[in-house]
């Protein structure tokens, strides 16, 4: 059996606010295998965002073990963490976080810029990804000229462009209407079917139902870890909705 993509044991994050110690994450041990589509749920303050920051290598744990693809990343220096994020993780945010006044294709290129990829190859790979998310014809549009769903697609293309090990999506549909949300979820499911590991942070059951595994957080711990044997298929729902309309 190969090592899981994500492996944590007793993962903890403690913040100090004044004299109070706040345990944002209190001993989380779980494995996520390559190719899984996992939803992380919980109310705000449950520790799900902290968990996401830790496995996204944006932050370091106070204690515990975190191995990404068998590699210990719990104590890496700042720039090594940056390089790990660049190579291995694709982020999708609730508010897209695209660079304003910058063409879609340049936004998608950004991670490759920091990876040191030559500009010609960069452009080619970015265009490829934009076509993959269905925005090949809008590569020169600026974010302000794109709809919310289109902006999130650009963000997904940006997350995919370095061919990462996993996609971390933090409330990816939080700023979108339900129809567009379905489109984004269909895209994420399609990527997952292609072998991409997807971790989805959300507080909406509506979104979580598309995942095959659902983790529930409360007070910094995992309180429920269940398999969803029959995840909904966003593409089918979308097709049905179209037919109805």
């Amino acid at each position: 059996m190969t090592a899981p993509l994500i492996h944590t044991r007793d993962l903890a994050k403690v913040y100090r606010i004044g004299d109070n110690l706040i345990k944002a994450l209190d001993g989380v041990g779980l494995d996520i295998a390559s190719g899984e589509m996992t939803a992380v749920m919980g109310p705000s303050g449950s520790g799900k965002s902290t968990f996401m920051n830790l496995i996204g290598c944006l932050d370091l744990p106070s204690s515990g073990v975190y191995r990404l693809e068998g590699r210990d990343v719990a104590a890496l220096p700042r720039d090594e963490l940056a390089a790990t994020r660049n190579r291995s993780i694709g982020f999708v945010f609730q508010n897209f976080n695209l660079l304003a006044r910058t063409a879609a294709v340049e936004n998608v290129e950004l991670p490759l810029v920091y990876a040191g990829v030559p500009s010609r190859e960069r452009r080619g790979r970015a265009m490829e990804m934009l076509e993959k998310v269905g925005l090949g014809e809008r590569s020169e549009h600026h974010p302000a000229q794109l709809s919310g769903g289109q902006q999130q697609r650009v963000a997904i293309a940006r997350a995919l462009v370095t061919r990462p090990l996993l996609i971390l999506a933090d409330e990816p549909t939080g700023a979108l209407d339900s129809r567009t949300s379905l489109e984004i979820m269909a895209l994420l499911q399609e990527l997952n079917r292609g072998g991409m590991t997807v971790v989805l942070v959300t507080h909406e059951p509506d979104v979580a139902r598309f995942a095959r595994r659902i983790l529930r957080f409360r007070d910094g711990r995992v309180v429920q870890d269940e398999a969803n044997h029959r995840p909904e298929d966003a593409a089918c729902l979308l097709a049905a909705e179209r037919k109805a309309a």
Binding site: N53, G56, L58, D59, R78, D79, A82, A83, R85, N86, R87, F91, F93, N97, L99, R101, T102, L110, P111, V113, Y114, A115, S119, R158, T162
Partner: protein, 410 residues
């Protein structure tokens, strides 16, 4: 990210807030322009002083006939002619490193046609022209027969030529000095104002023999062969202090002065006067540049201020860049390049305005300016350094942001 990429990102970021960027640059523009103008004006003043020193002749000692005490009343220098042509000849002979030129001075009214002009007459030997480094604009110099024969010929300075002759060529004309007719054989090159502000071109030179017997002879200075001043040129490379002491010792010996008695002449080292002037003009130039660079520093603080605002405004962008893999040095580089771009563009515009202003001052106020390429290079280097220095703190602040907090920043 490579430099070209960083530059493009910086230009784009600066273009977003055009007015703000322009106002920020204005500080640097004014600073650089001020430095350029001040250096140009300062260097111009220095060049003027140096020119005056050159016009005086270099490595010069001036000996004036001494102040003597007559019945307890001390007289001014030159009041008693204690120097003589023999003294001058002795200096040249005994101290081979020197050339001494005696000069007899007097004022006279000169007349040509219906014009007249009051000027200074110098009775000189041919050495004088060499020692004071007078050049001819036209005509010829005295030759030895002029001195020996006390011929009635003279050279006129530019001012005299202008005042007396207007547009006419003075060479060959006959002027009357104290009713004695003289033929003008040459016109001297202009030397301009002296360091003291007197017009060096307002003079007439004639052989010392002629001056003594024909023009100044009626005065008390008729005493045989005595002169008011002796100019001594010391060879290049010979120690001026040593020359000064040798001349002093020689003259004291010739004048039979007892040890302890005052000199009956006065010795001045013009080099020292010139050096003092030059030093003070250099200090002035430095002071001007220092005052101007204060405005450059203020401009730098403006850049720092705006860069801090920019870092705060773009916290989320920084967080995102970090999330997709920007390392500390990438973020540091991005904001440093942005600050340096601001300061360098400001610097270049400042140079254009500064050079324009300096040329304008030269045209309008008639001041002498010197635009040295070094000062322009210096200004560019300074602008660059200002950008790096004042951009570093905001850039480091950006590079040290925590990515989690930066992404969450509202």
């Amino acid at each position: 990210m490579n430099l070209l990429g960083l530059l493009r990102v910086a230009m784009r970021a600066l273009a977003v807030n055009k007015l703000r960027s322009a106002l920020t640059m204005l500080g640097i523009i004014i600073g650089v322009a001020a430095v350029i103008v001040m250096i140009a004006v300062g260097a111009g003043a220095q060049a003027r002083v140096e020119e005056q020193i050159r016009s005086l002749g270099s490595n010069l000692l001036l000996i004036l006939s001494g102040a003597t005490t007559s019945g307890g009343v001390r007289m001014g220098f030159g009041s008693n002619l204690t120097l003589s042509e023999e003294d001058a000849a002795a200096i040249s002979r005994e101290i081979p490193e020197t050339t001494a030129a005696p000069a007899l001075r007097g004022a006279a009214q000169v007349i040509w046609g219906n014009q007249n002009w009051s000027t200074v007459i110098f009775g000189i030997t041919p050495e004088y022209v060499e020692v004071r480094q007078w050049e001819l604009a036209s005509g010829r110099m005295f030759d030895p027969t002029d001195t020996a024969g006390a011929t009635k010929v003279c050279l006129v300075g530019q001012t005299v030529a202008r005042q007396l002759f207007g547009g006419v060529d003075p060479v060959g004309q006959v002027i009357r000095v104290r009713r004695v007719p003289f033929t003008v054989i040459g016109v001297l090159e202009g030397k301009g104002q002296s360091m003291m502000g007197t017009d060096q071109d307002d003079l007439i030179l004639m052989p010392i023999t002629t001056a003594r017997s024909r023009v100044l002879g009626a005065s008390a200075r008729a005493k045989q062969r005595s002169v008011g001043t002796i100019w001594v040129k010391v060879q290049e490379g010979y120690d001026m202090k040593a020359a000064e002491e040798q001349v002093r010792a020689l003259l004291r010996q010739r004048h039979r002065l007892q040890p302890g008695a005052d000199d009956d002449f006065s010795l001045r080292n013009l080099e020292e006067v010139a050096a003092t002037q030059e030093a003070s003009s250099r200090v002035l130039a430095l002071l001007l540049a220092a005052v101007a660079s204060v405005s450059l520093v203020v401009g730098g603080i403006g850049i720092m201020n705006i860069m801090l605002v920019s870092v705060t405004e773009r916290t989320r962008e920084i967080g995102l860049r970090m999330a997709v893999g920007a390392r500390t040095r990438d973020i540091l580089g991005q904001f440093l390049v942005e600050a340096v771009t601001l300061s360098l563009i400001g610097g270049i515009v400042g140079i254009l305005i500064g050079v324009g202003a300096a040329v304008g001052i030269a045209e309008l106020a008639g001041w002498r300016i010197v635009l040295a390429p070094e000062s322009v290079m210096l200004a560019v280097a300074f602008a660059f350094a200002i950008g790096v220095f004042f951009g570093f703190y905001p850039a480091r602040k950006a590079a040290r942001l925590n990515p989690v907090e930066a992404l969450r920043f509202e």
